[in-house]
């Protein structure tokens, strides 16, 4: 229980009661045979070490390097992403949004925290928190500025609110000066936030 007084993260300080409640629920569910402790460890390990934004970065890098793949990704994202072995929970029905010199896409879930888990992993705290959910749809340019993403005035900003079971992934624009890079090197430039649409990819 010593995480109680030691948890100081701004968004995450739980009520002390919450920590106790989680322990109580887990202990009762295990005791009644409703959850398998080894399955809990496997679930945690999956999202802590196996599934994360490196998956999405591979999808983006492939689309940058392979025009036929990009076409498939834009016309049937779920199938094209599954080609790379990424599918399943919270990514069953995917749509990919392509950024262009004229259009910048940005994804939010104002009602909860819908997010494409197979390609991005679990969402960061800011994505799930009130300020982003409240502001992304109403003042996206101010939000982008806070992320250090300043777009030219003539770029059209499109915000996508994931209010149903479709999950969105942004395909950012390929940075200049990357012609000589292979897919693994390109993937290194693709950040999580560039696939949510709150940032641009890194420059080489």
């Amino acid at each position: 229980m010593n995480e109680l007084p030691m948890s100081h993260h701004k968004h995450n300080d739980p009520l002390p009661e919450t920590v106790l409640r989680v322990k109580a629920l887990e202990s009762l569910l295990v005791e009644k045979g409703l959850v398998d402790p080894a399955a809990l460890d496997a679930l945690i390990d999956t999202y802590e070490t196996k599934v994360g934004p490196r998956n999405g970065a591979r999808v983006v890098a492939r689309a940058w390097a392979d025009p036929a793949y990009r076409e498939r990704l834009l016309s049937d994202a779920s199938a094209a992403i599954a080609e790379l072995g990424f599918s399943g929970r919270q990514g069953e029905d995917m749509v990919v949004l392509e950024n262009t010199p004229q259009v910048h896409n940005m994804v939010v879930c104002t009602l909860c925290s819908c997010y494409p888990w197979p390609v991005l992993g679990l969402p960061p705290v800011w994505y799930k928190s009130a300020p982003y959910r409240a502001r992304a749809v109403a003042e996206p340019r101010a939000v982008l500025e806070e992320f250090g993403c300043s777009l030219p005035e003539d770029v059209e900003v499109r915000v996508w609110d994931s209010t149903a079971e479709v999950r969105y992934l942004v395909l950012p624009m390929r940075p200049r000066g990357t012609d000589a890079l292979n897919q693994a090197q390109l993937a290194e430039l693709v950040t999580r936030d560039s696939m949510i649409g709150t940032a641009l990819p890194r420059s080489p």
């Binding site: 409703l34 496997a42 749809v137 499109r158 996508w160």
Partner: protein, 116 residues
């Protein structure tokens, strides 16, 4: 369903649980059509956010047929067509909207009416 065992975790996650349904329902709205989101206030689960209720938008795409979330929250599987609807920022936020900006919202067919 049985208790989730460690051996099944990877398979269960990989399979997921798509909310898409195969029911061949006709589409009441066409891509490009102007619609308005109904002003409804169900006291139970719904996926129509308050900020689009009563606002006019344009059907951007037809996602196909999915399980209707409002009914699903009551444990019922009701097929319904789902659309991406584009709302201009100014339609949603008036003078505080950003010119040229827009918000795309996934809305079930029964949240919408024709605006013509």
């Amino acid at each position: 369903m049985p208790v989730l065992k460690a051996d099944n975790v990877a398979a269960v996650l990989r399979k997921g649980a798509s909310a898409r349904l195969a029911d061949p329902l006709p589409a009441r709205f066409a891509v490009g059509q102007t619609v308005h989101a109904l002003n409804i206030n169900p006291p139970t689960h719904t996926r129509i956010p308050r900020y689009v209720r009563g606002r006019r938008g344009v059907v951007h795409s037809d996602h196909g047929v999915f399980t209707f979330a409002d009914a699903h929250a009551r444990g019922e599987t009701v097929p319904e067509r789902l659309y991406s609807v584009r709302f201009s920022s100014e339609e949603l936020w008036g003078p505080q909207g950003s010119p040229g900006g827009s918000v795309y919202v996934d809305l079930f067919e029964s949240y919408l009416a024709s605006a013509t």
